[in-house]
C-alpha cells in the first residue's frame, strides 16, 4: 500500500499500514441513519482502539434545525445501541467534545461560506493543519449541489497556506443509477476534487473477509497455482437477505432493484477480487488496475436473447420465513403495486480472459430468501474418472472452497474422506476457519477501516472512476434489454422464504450444476 508522508516519528512501525492524519471530517446528511448507525460508531471505535488521530474534528452538516448538544445526544443514544465494543462514557466524552453541528441547506451557498469560515477557525485552533475530509452521506439527489458548492466555496482544494494539507471527498453509494448518470457524477466529482482525492465507498471492500481474499490467494502458495480454468469448474457468489422492505426501504429499492443496488457495486467488486490477476504491487492503483481489467473482461449481455439466456430476475410473492408470514414484494411498504422491479437476480457471468476462459461465475442476490448470508464458493473440477471416481456413485462431491463474507466470516474447504470401516465409503468433510473463534479480537466494522484509510490517503479499498463506469456499462445493457422487451423477459415469481425462482435453478441446471446450499 502507498505510504503517506508524515513527520511523526512515533507513528512509524507502530501499525503496519498507512498513517491516518488529523483532519476535520464534514459529514453531509449528518441527521441520517448512516451517520448515526455507522459513521459515528466507527469513529468512536477507532478512538476506543486508540487509532483515531488526535485533533480529529467532526462536523455534521444537515438541514434540520439542531443544536450541537441535540446532535451529540442523538449520536450518543445510537452509539450505545450499535457500537461493536459497547459504550465507554469517558471515551465518548472525549470524542463528543470534538463533534459539532452545522445547519445549512445543501443548496445554500452561504452555508458553505460559513462552513469554510468554521473550518478555518478549527484549523487555527488546532494549530494550522488544514486537512479536510468531506463525507457525502446525503440522499443522492444532493450530490451535485454539495460538490459544486464545496468547489464554489474553495473547500475542494487544499489550502494554499498549508504545505502538505489535503482535501478529500468520500462519496456514498449509489454512485449513479446508470452509466450516463455515473459518468455525469464522475464529471462533477472530478471537476471538484482530483481523482486521487476521491474515495467512492463500497463498504463490502472494507469487510475483513473481502480484504482477506487477496491474502488467501496471494499469501498462500497452495491456491494460486490452481486458481484458473484448469482446476476450477465454476464460481458462485451469493448475497442472500432474509429481510424485505422494512424500515421504509421500499421507496429507494423499488427505484433501484437488486441489479443496481447490489450487483453493480458490491458483487462485481467481490467478483473482481476473486478473478483478478496478481497486482504488481499493493498500491491503490496497482490493485485497482487489475480489478478493472476483470470488469472490462466481462462478456456483455447486450441483446434480449443473451439476457434471457444468462440472467434471471425475480420477485417474491407472499410466503413465510422462520414460521412468520411475510408479504409479497408488491405488497411491501412504499413499493408500487404493479412494480416491475427485481427483488432477486441471478446472472451467469463470463470473464473472457486466458485464466478464466469457459469458467462461469454465477452471481445471485435477493431479498426474502431463507437466511442472511454473503459468500463466494469456488467449485473445483472433479477428479478423473479412474480409481475412486470410477466406483459406483463416484466421489460424493468436488472440492469446494467457501469464503464467507458475512455473517460468521471465515473460510471452509470441503473434501472427501473415507468413512471408518472395513468397506470403502466416502463422505464429504469440512475444514472450517471462523474469524470469530480463531482470533482473540473482533473484526472492525468496514466503515472503521475505510474512514481510517481515507484519512491516510489510501484508496485501495475504494472504487476508482473506471471501475464504477465499467460496472455500469455491464449492468446498463442488461437493464436496457429488460426495458426494451418486457414481454420476452418476464419477472419470475418465487415464494418468500424459498431460494429464489425455479428459473434461477434452471440457469445452472442447463450447465449441469446446482446452486450451493447455504
Amino acid at each position: 500500500m502507498g505510504k503517506t508522508v508524515v513527520n511523526n516519528p512515533f507513528r512509524e512501525d507502530l501499525v503496519s499500514r498507512n498513517l491516518a492524519e488529523a483532519c476535520s471530517v464534514v459529514i453531509f446528511g449528518a441527521t441520517g441513519d448512516l451517520t448515526h448507525r455507522k459513521l459515528i460508531p466507527a469513529l468512536y471505535n477507532l478512538a476506543i482502539d486508540g487509532e483515531l488521530p488526535a485533533g480529529v474534528k467532526i462536523l455534521g452538516f444537515a438541514r434540520r434545525d439542531w443544536s450541537d448538544k441535540f446532535f451529540c445526544e442523538g449520536l450518543k443514544k445510537l452509539n450505545r445501541q450499535v457500537s461493536r465494543t459497547g459504550h465507554d462514557e469517558e471515551i465518548w466524552k472525549s470524542l463528543a467534545a470534538n463533534i459539532e453541528y452545522h445547519k445549512s441547506e445543501f443548496q445554500d451557498k452561504d452555508g458553505y461560506k460559513r462552513l469554510s469560515d468554521r473550518l478555518d477557525e478549527i484549523d487555527r485552533e488546532r494549530g494550522g493543519k488544514g486537512n479536510r475530509l468531506f463525507y457525502i452521506a446525503s440522499a443522492p439527489e444532493y450530490f451535485d449541489d454539495i460538490l459544486l458548492n464545496l468547489k464554489a466555496a474553495g473547500l475542494s482544494q487544499q489550502r494554499l497556506d498549508c504545505d502538505g494539507c489535503w482535501s478529500r471527498v468520500i462519496v456514498e453509494k449509489p454512485f449513479g443509477t446508470t452509466l450516463e448518470t455515473a459518468q455525469h457524477l464522475n464529471e462533477v466529482v472530478n471537476g471538484t476534487f482530483e481523482e486521487k482525492d476521491t474515495y467512492r465507498i463500497d463498504h463490502y471492500l472494507g469487510k475483513e473477509t473481502a480484504q482477506n481474499i487477496m491474502v488467501l490467494r496471494f499469501a498462500n502458495a497452495i491456491f494460486e497455482p490452481m486458481w484458473n480454468k484448469e482446476y476450477i469448474d465454476h464460481i458462485q457468489i451469493t448475497c442472500a437477505e432474509h429481510l424485505g422492505m422494512e424500515g421504509g426501504r421500499g421507496g429507494y429499492y423499488d427505484e433501484a432493484g437488486a441489479l443496481r443496488d447490489m450487483v453493480q457495486n458490491h458483487l462485481l467488486q467481490l467478483l473482481s477480487l476473486v478473478a483478478m490477476e496478481p497486482p504488481t504491487d499493493l498500491t491503490a492503483d496497482g490493485v485497482r488496475d487489475e480489478k478493472v481489467k476483470v470488469i472490462r473482461s466481462l462478456r456483455q449481455w447486450d441483446t434480449p436473447e443473451l439476457v434471457a439466456e444468462n440472467v434471471v430476475r425475480g420477485q417474491y410473492i407472499a410466503g413465510n420465513i422462520n414460521g412468520k408470514e411475510v408479504p409479497g414484494y408488491r405488497d411491501e411498504d412504499r413499493v408500487k403495486p404493479d412494480s416491475e422491479t427485481e427483488a432477486y437476480v441471478a446472472l451467469r457471468c463470463m470473464v473472457d480472459t486466458w485464466r478464466w476462459s469457459g469458467v462461469p461465475f454465477y452471481v445471485r442476490v435477493g431479498k426474502r430468501l431463507p437466511k442472511k448470508g454473503t459468500e463466494i464458493s469456488v467449485h473445483f473440477k472433479e477428479t478423473p474418472s479412474v480409481l475412486f471416481n470410477a466406483m459406483p456413485g463416484g466421489v460424493p462431491t468436488g472440492n469446494v472452497l467457501v469464503i464467507r463474507i458475512q455473517p460468521d466470516e471465515g473460510i471452509s474447504l470441503m473434501m472427501n474422506s473415507k468413512l471408518p470401516g472395513t468397506t470403502l465409503r466416502m463422505e464429504p468433510v469440512k475444514m472450517d476457519f471462523h474469524y470469530a473463534s480463531s482470533f482473540g479480537k473482533s473484526s472492525p466494522e468496514a466503515y472503521e477501516r475505510l474512514l481510517l484509510d481515507a484519512m491516510a490517503g489510501d484508496a485501495t479499498l475504494f472504487a476508482r472512476r473506471d471501475e464504477v463506469e465499467e460496472a455500469w456499462r455491464f449492468i446498463d445493457k442488461i437493464h436496457k434489454a429488460w426495458a426494451n422487451s418486457s414481454e420476452e423477459l418476464p419477472i419470475s415469481k418465487f415464494a418468500a422464504g424459498s431460494w429464489g425462482p425455479r428459473e434461477a435453478d434452471e440457469l445452472l441446471a442447463k450447465d449441469g450444476r446446482n446452486w450451493r446450499r447455504l
Binding site: 486508540g50 488526535a54 472525549s94 488546532r126 494549530g127 494550522g128 493543519k129 473463534s437 480463531s438
Partner: protein, 353 residues
C-alpha cells in the same frame, strides 16, 4: 463435559501415561462440545503454588484463544522425583449456542530429573500448531537451547525478574541461538502499548510536530516494580526520536537530539499508582502529557502549546498478566519494534546503576 465443567481448577487427576487415552474418553463421552485448538499454549512456573491460578488464567484466555493448554509447575526442592498430572477442559459458549472447549493438561513435577521439563513439553503438544510458551519468573538453567529452539513465541514478564540484566542477557543469547526465529514478547513491553499509541497520537498534532525538534525534557513516572516497563518506554522514545544517550546517572539521563540539543530525562519512581503513571514531554512553550491513575481503564492525554490545548482520553493497558497475554496474542506479529528498541534499552539498563 459436565464432569469437566464441575472441576474449577486442575480437573481430574490422571496417570501421566494415560493422559491421551483419558482425554479421548472425555471427548467421546461428550457430543455437545467442540474441542478447538489453534495453538499449543504452555505455561511454566517454578512456583508450584501458581499452578491453580494459572488454570484460572487459562480459563479466561480460552474465551478468545482456543488452545491445547499445558501447565507445568516445577517443585525443584522436593526430595523425591515424581509427577502429578490432571486433565480438564475450559468450555465457552460461542455466539450463545455452540460450546467450544480447550483441553488442558497440568503437571506438577517434583524433584530434579535431567531433561524432564523439555520431554514433558514435547510429549504433550498438538502437532503442527504453533507453540506459545509463557515462562513465568526468572529464566533458570532449565531455559536451555534444546527447549527454546522449538518455541514459536516466548512470553515472559521481566518485571518479575530480580536480576533483569542477567535475564535480558539470557534472552539475547536465546534469540541468537534461534537465529531470531523465536518471537519474544515481554509483558513489560506490552504494559506500555497504549502509552506508545498515545504518544504517537499526540505527535500527530501539528503543534507537537512543530515542537518536536525543540524537545528538552522527558519525565517518566512509574512504580519501581515496573522499572523495566518505564525503561522500555523510554528506550522506544529515544529510538524513534533518533536521540543518543550522552550520560546516565541513576535516574537522570542526558540525551542529545538529532539537532544537537540536550534532552534531560528524569525517571521518577512512585509507590503505588498505575504501573506507569505518567509521561511528560516538554519543549519551550509546549508540554505533551499522558497519565493514568491506578485502576483507571483510560489514559488522559493532553497537549498544551502557546494558545492551543487539547485533552482527550484513550484506552489504557491491562494491569493483570492474563489481560496482557491476551492482548499480546490478539496482536500477533513478530514484535520487531521491541527488538529495535532493545539496544537502547540495554544501554539504559546497564547504565542505570
Amino acid at each position: 463435559m459436565t464432569q469437566l465443567n464441575s472441576s474449577a481448577y486442575l480437573g481430574i487427576p490422571v496417570e501421566v501415561g494415560a493422559i491421551d487415552g483419558e482425554l479421548k474418553k472425555l471427548w467421546e463421552a461428550d457430543e455437545a462440545s467442540t474441542n478447538a485448538s489453534l495453538m499449543n499454549f504452555l505455561v511454566y512456573t517454578e512456583d508450584p503454588s501458581r499452578l491453580q491460578k494459572n488454570s484460572q488464567t487459562i480459563q479466561e484466555l480460552t474465551r478468545e484463544n482456543a488452545c491445547r493448554a499445558v501447565l507445568i509447575a516445577m517443585n525443584r526442592h522436593a526430595a523425591d522425583v515424581k509427577v502429578e498430572s490432571w486433565i480438564t477442559a475450559h468450555c465457552h459458549l460461542a455466539h450463545g449456542k455452540k460450546s467450544i472447549c480447550s483441553e488442558q493438561v497440568s503437571f506438577l513435577l517434583h524433584g530434579r530429573s535431567l531433561g524432564r521439563l523439555r520431554n514433558t513439553v514435547f510429549a504433550h503438544l498438538n502437532s503442527d500448531l504453533p507453540l506459545v510458551f509463557w515462562w513465568q519468573g526468572e529464566f533458570s538453567e532449565l531455559f536451555e537451547e534444546r527447549l527454546y529452539r522449538l518455541l514459536d513465541r516466548l512470553i515472559f514478564d521481566s518485571s518479575d525478574w530480580a536480576d533483569p540484566k542477567a535475564g535480558f542477557r539470557r534472552l539475547l543469547m536465546a534469540r541468537s541461538d534461534t537465529k531470531g526465529r523465536m518471537v519474544t514478547q515481554d509483558l513489560s513491553w506490552t504494559r506500555s502499548y497504549f502509552y506508545r499509541l498515545a504518544v504517537a497520537r499526540l505527535f500527530d498534532d501539528p503543534m507537537a510536530d512543530k515542537a518536536f525538534p525543540e524537545i528538552e525534557g522527558v519525565r517518566v513516572m512509574a512504580q519501581s516494580k515496573h522499572r523495566i516497563a518505564a525503561l522500555l518506554l523510554l528506550a522506544w522514545i529515544i529510538t524513534r526520536s533518533g536521540w543518543s544517550i550522552q550520560s546516565q546517572e541513576s535516574d537522570r539521563v542526558i540525551l542529545e537530539s538529532r539537532e544537537g540539543g540536550e534532552v534531560i530525562v528524569e525517571l521518577i519512581w512512585i509507590d503505588g499508582g498505575a504501573p506507569i503513571s505518567g509521561l511528560e514531554i516538554s519543549a519551550p512553550n509546549f508540554k505533551a502529557r499522558v497519565s493514568r491513575e491506578a485502576g483507571n481503564p483510560h489514559l488522559c492525554q493532553s497537549i498544551c502549546a502557546e494558545n492551543h490545548s487539547i485533552d482527550f482520553s484513550g484506552p489504557a493497558d491491562f494491569d493483570d498478566s492474563a489481560g496482557l497475554v491476551a492482548s499480546q496474542l490478539s496482536r500477533g506479529g513478530k514484535n520487531s519494534l521491541f527488538l529495535n528498541v532493545l539496544p537502547q534499552f540495554v544501554k539504559l539498563l546497564e547504565g542505570g546503576d
